[in-house]
Every structure is written in structure tokens, then in C-alpha cells.
């Protein structure tokens, strides 16, 4: 029931290990800062608040609406969380949502979780916050600024997340940039509209019911640094992705230079260069042997289990 159209949740296996680890490190740093900032802002209140609101964003993804042809749209939530709670709290909320989705529901991989948190949590929160606060300030805190900021923030968050996802796949050698970027970007330009509509709907309701809450993100100013970070992320990805898709070889070149693509082929590891396995000179033969070993392993486990069950039954009878 909570299965979402997980286009942006990268499963394990689709990112090369260095890319996955790089984004784990980046996300871990931002999460650590977010934990400190939110703890300073909300104090002891923050654990229950973040936990329940993470559950809220997760459950809120069930609230769908029919679009066309049997498809439906639903909330992703990073921008809405950033608008209502501020970017740092949104990072924590989205980290919890994505973490539980990966760990329990296998929506996105565990090794890929760093990248998924980076794309949907961090980029989503920062870019959403940047667009929202900009438009809101421009409008002088008027209602149209709040709604336009909400729509554009949510739309931009989804699109920029998608571009980041496409670039990571390209960097991993999983998907060529000149196909992944336009395809991912194109689809999410549309999905982003749905996200924008839902976000505006939520803001419109809260504007009527609890206008004071729209000051939450503002009350504890996130500071210029966060605004600049949102701007830089949005600009960098908006410029980088067309460049990468125009010159996919460029990205491939970067990847190769960094040793991403052919990490396994590097010389220090070729201990026995002429042999595939020690004593086995043929890859096909190695595969066959591995197949036999694999079957033996599984058969042994099944056999041992069956035997222990029969023994257990024998004892009870």
C-alpha cells in the first residue's frame, strides 16, 4: 500500500561502489550538521517532533490523487517539510523516511541510501527552501509569494533531485548521461507539477487553518549559507546536466579518471595476471566450477535442514 512509484529510489547494484560511498559520506556530513542544528533549535522537543513528522510524511505518501490513465500522483514531501520545518529539520525527516523505506520496505538500496538521502532529502530540502524563501521575500510575505514559492520550490526540488539521480547513474556507468538526463529530467518535470499542486494544496489549507505555522521555517532563520547552498545546488545541477548529456564522453572521462568505471581492472590487483583463478586458466571453466560449488552449497543447506527437521520430528513422536 505504501509502495510508491519509486523512480528516484535507486536500488542497490545500480550505483558503482565509489559513487555510493562518496554520497554516503556527503550525506553523513550534512545529517550530522542537521542533527546539531535541530537539537540547538528545538532542544529536547526535537526527537518526538522529528519522529512523528517523519511518520507523517511517510504516511502522507498514501494520499494520492488520480491523474490519468490509471496513474496517480502522491506527495514526496521534501519541499513541504523544508517549508514548514526549515531545511535542517527537513533533512532529518527525509533521512528517517528514506532510511525506513530502504531498510524495511526495500524502496531503494542500503548502499545506495546515501545517494538517495542526498538526492531526495538534502537536495530536496535545500532547493525547496531556497526557492520558497526567495519568492516569499520577493512578494513581501504575501499569500501569492507563499503559494508560488511552494509550487516552484516543490517542482524544482523534484526536478533537481531527478537530475542528480541521473548524473549519479551516469557517473556509475549504469546509464549514459545523454539518455538518463533527458529521460529522468523529462519525466520529473511532469511529476514535479503534481508535487507542486499537492504542496500548494497543503500550504493553502495551513494558510487557512493555522497561518502561524507558516512562520516555523522562518522563525529560526536557517541563515544565508543554506539559501546559498540551495541556489548553488540548483544552478550547478541545472548547468551540469545539459553539459553532461551534450558530452556524455566527458562524464565518462571523469568517471574513468576517478577510476569509477573500471575500478576492478587496476594493476595492483592483478596478482596472478595470466590466470583467472589460481590454477584455473579459463573464465568459462571458473564459471562452471562456481556453478557446481553454488549448487553444492545450496543442496548441503537444504539437506542439512531437512535432516535436522526429520530428527526433530522423530524426537517429538
Amino acid at each position: 500500500m505504501l509502495a510508491s512509484p519509486a523512480q528516484l529510489h535507486i536500488p542497490d547494484g545500480f550505483l558503482s561502489t565509489p559513487v555510493a560511498i562518496l554520497f554516503w559520506i556527503l550525506s553523513a556530513i550534512v545529517i550530522a550538521i542537521a542533527l546539531r542544528r535541530v537539537n540547538a533549535d528545538l532542544g529536547e522537543r526535537h526527537v518526538p517532533m522529528m519522529g512523528v513528522l517523519a511518520a507523517c510524511i511517510f504516511a502522507g505518501q498514501m494520499l494520492n490523487f488520480a491523474v490519468a490513465g490509471g496513474t496517480s500522483g502522491h506527495l514526496l514531501g521534501a519541499a513541504l517539510a523544508a517549508i514548514l520545518l526549515g531545511p535542517w529539520a527537513a533533512v532529518l525527516v527525509m533521512t528517517s523516511v528514506l532510511g525506513v523505506q530502504a531498510l524495511i520496505f526495500q524502496d531503494g538500496g542500503l548502499l545506495a541510501l546515501g545517494a538517495n538521502i542526498f538526492n531526495m532529502g538534502i537536495i530536496g530540502a535545500f532547493v525547496g527552501h531556497f526557492a520558497y524563501t526567495t519568492l516569499r521575500r520577493l512578494s513581501g510575505n504575501r499569500a501569492w509569494g507563499i503559494f508560488a514559492g511552494g509550487f516552484i520550490g516543490a517542482w524544482l526540488a523534484v526536478v533537481i533531485s531527478a537530475l542528480a539521480c541521473a548524473l549519479q547513474l551516469a557517473l556509475s556507468g549504469t546509464s549514459p548521461a545523454n539518455i538518463a538526463v533527458p529521460a529522468m529530467g523529462g519525466v520529473h518535470v511532469l511529476i514535479g507539477i503534481g508535487e507542486g499542486l499537492i504542496t500548494v494544496g497543503a500550504l493553502a489549507f495551513i494558510y487557512v487553518a493555522r497561518r502561524d505555522l507558516l512562520g516555523i521555517g522562518e522563525g529560526k532563520p536557517a541563515g544565508k549559507a543554506v539559501w546559498v547552498a540551495g541556489l548553488v545546488i540548483a544552478l550547478a545541477l541545472a548547468i551540469m546536466s545539459p553539459l553532461a548529456s551534450a558530452h556524455p564522453d566527458g562524464l565518462e572521462w571523469v568517471a574513468e579518471q576517478a577510476g569509477f568505471l573500471h575500478q576492478a581492472a587496476s594493476a595492483p590487483y592483478s596478482i596472478i595476471p595470466d590466470y583467472v583463478m589460481p590454477g584455473v586458466s579459463n573464465e568459462a571453466l571458473a564459471t562452471i566450477i562456481a556453478g557446481i560449488v553454488g549448487v553444492v552449497i545450496v543442496a548441503a543447506v537444504v539437506g542439512a535442514l531437512a535432516l535436522s527437521r526429520r530428527n526433530a520430528q522423530g524426537k517429538t513422536q
Binding site: 512523528v52 511518520a55 532529518l92 542500503l110 549504469t174 493553502a204 493555522r210 592483478s270 583467472v276
Partner: protein
């Protein structure tokens, strides 16, 4: 409606269920890392990893068919990797006619595509087995043991506790909307508003859910504070990992290290 069926944990008394959650957690992550590190086309390594995951599923008594079927959830994502069939340069394998364009699939591209698919599939099997054989509180304990920040683990725990409550709440909102949405059998009479309107309604409901969650979090905080909560999340000291489970951990890590070595040899 209660949606406890959401929790994928299936109680059991298999050896995998009985294994210490910390050992399971570390071994699962290392297994996925080893799988990820195997280079494209390292078929012998994939076969051995697959054999290990099948053995673990058999031991866990979760049902091989069930887990293998559930592990197919990532297949749609394979669409993202499909282009590498044709874009990786190499020996030509087959041609596909797409309108005016002829696409040539290379052996290397095909190898990379199926490697990605297989790695993803094997990793998912292990992740599913972990989630299905370990209750969430034990996973939280495992996260604490591997030094994930305590506050983050506490947030995870509270989120899990209230996920079902809020999912129930969302279900009620959905039911209320369904109850108030008319459908007219008469042909030609349009029911329901435009997409924009529907989107905004869903948004309003999301906002409503948010307000309820915010109020609830206030109540929860008050209740916690009433019981003496002062911002410090305290937990029992983690029990020692039993010796037998430590042996399993070390043996598992050795096997995975050996497979990693093998994949290096094959990649060279």
C-alpha cells in the same frame, strides 16, 4: 482499518531469526558491499553470492519463492540501465530496429546490463531476508551498535512507533474523501474536478495530516516530559554478542572477503 500488515517482519524460529540482529545487520551490509564491488561480468562471483543468498533464505524458512518474487521489485528500475546495452562500445551482439534507427547491442554492454540487474537482485534478496527475519526494535539495536548517532536512532524508533498510527489516520482521510466523492452512472455527466483541483484536494489532506501529526507530537512530547524525559535518550547497555554468533560473524566476513578477493582476480 489497521495496517499492521505493513510490517514485513515474519515471526519464526529459524537459525536466521535466532541470529543476533547486530551480526545480521553487519553481514547483510557487507554482503551488499561485496556484491557491489564485484566487477561487471564476474559471473562465478555472482553465482557464489547467489548460492549464499539462496542458502540464507532456505535457512530463514521464509520461503524461497516468496523472497525471490519480492526481490523483483527493482526490475522496473532496470529501464534506467537498458541504454548501456547499446551505448557501450564493443563486439556487436545483435541489432534492434527501432523506427529508422538501428541499435547495435555490444557484448560488453549486455554483460554490464545483466551484471547490474543480477547484482541488484541478489542485494535485494539479502535486504528482504534481513527485514523479514528481524523485528524493528532489534534493527534499532543493531544501528546503535554500529554507532549510528543515538538521536537519529531515537527518531527512527519514534517514527516506526507512529508510522502505523499516522498511516491509520491517512487511511481515515482517504475513506472520508471516498465517502464524499460521488460517481454518477449517467453517461456524459462529469464527476470530480480537474486534475489541478484533485491535486489541491490531496494537498489539503496532506496539510491536514501534517497538522494532526504536529499536534500529536506536542502531546507525545508532553507525555514524555511528564515521565521525566529531559532530551537524553537512554537505553540499556547492549548485551554482548554471544560467542557462537561472533563465530558466525567472523566466518561470514571471511567468506565475503574471499569472494571479494576472487572478484578482484577475475576483474584483473
Amino acid at each position: 482499518m489497521h495496517i499492521h500488515f505493513l510490517d514485513p517482519y515474519e515471526p519464526g524460529n529459524s537459525p536466521i531469526h535466532a541470529l543476533d540482529a547486530r551480526v545480521k545487520f553487519v553481514l547483510t551490509v557487507t554482503f551488499i558491499l561485496t556484491t557491489s564491488l564485484a566487477p561487471a561480468g564476474a559471473w562465478p562471483v555472482y553465482i557464489l553470492l547467489f548460492a549464499i543468498s539462496i542458502s540464507v533464505i532456505v535457512l530463514s524458512n521464509l520461503g524461497v519463492g516468496t523472497v525471490l518474487k519480492r526481490a523483483a521489485v527493482a526490475i522496473p528500475f532496470a529501464l534506467a540501465a537498458l541504454p548501456v546495452l547499446f551505448t557501450v562500445k564493443g563486439e556487436s551482439l545483435f541489432m534492434a530496429q527501432l523506427g529508422f534507427v538501428t541499435l547495435t547491442a555490444s557484448v560488453e554492454g549486455t554483460e554490464r546490463f545483466f551484471s547490474i540487474l543480477l547484482k541488484s537482485y541478489i542485494s535485494l534478496q539479502m535486504a528482504i531476508t534481513l527485514a523479514s527475519s528481524t523485528p524493528f526494535p532489534q534493527l534499532l539495536m543493531a544501528m546503535r551498535a554500529v554507532k549510528i548517532p543515538r538521536l537519529l536512532v531515537a527518531i527512527f524508533g519514534l517514527m516506526w512507533r507512529y508510522l502505523f498510527v499516522l498511516a491509520d489516520e491517512a487511511t481515515r482521510l482517504l475513506r472520508a474523501r471516498a465517502a464524499r466523492s460521488g460517481a454518477v452512472p449517467q453517461a456524459g455527466l462529469k464527476t470530480g474536478g480537474s486534475i489541478v483541483w484533485r491535486g489541491k484536494v490531496a494537498g489539503g489532506m496532506a496539510g491536514n495530516l501534517f497538522l494532526r501529526a504536529l499536534d500529536r507530537s506536542d502531546r507525545i512530547y508532553a507525555a514524555m516530559a511528564a515521565r521525566g524525559y529531559d532530551g537524553e535518550v537512554r537505553g540499556f547497555a547492549l548485551p554482548r554478542v554471544p560467542v557462537m554468533h561472533q563465530v558466525v560473524l567472523i566466518a561470514g566476513l571471511i567468506v565475503l572477503a574471499a569472494l571479494f578477493g576472487l572478484s578482484r582476480l577475475l576483474g584483473a
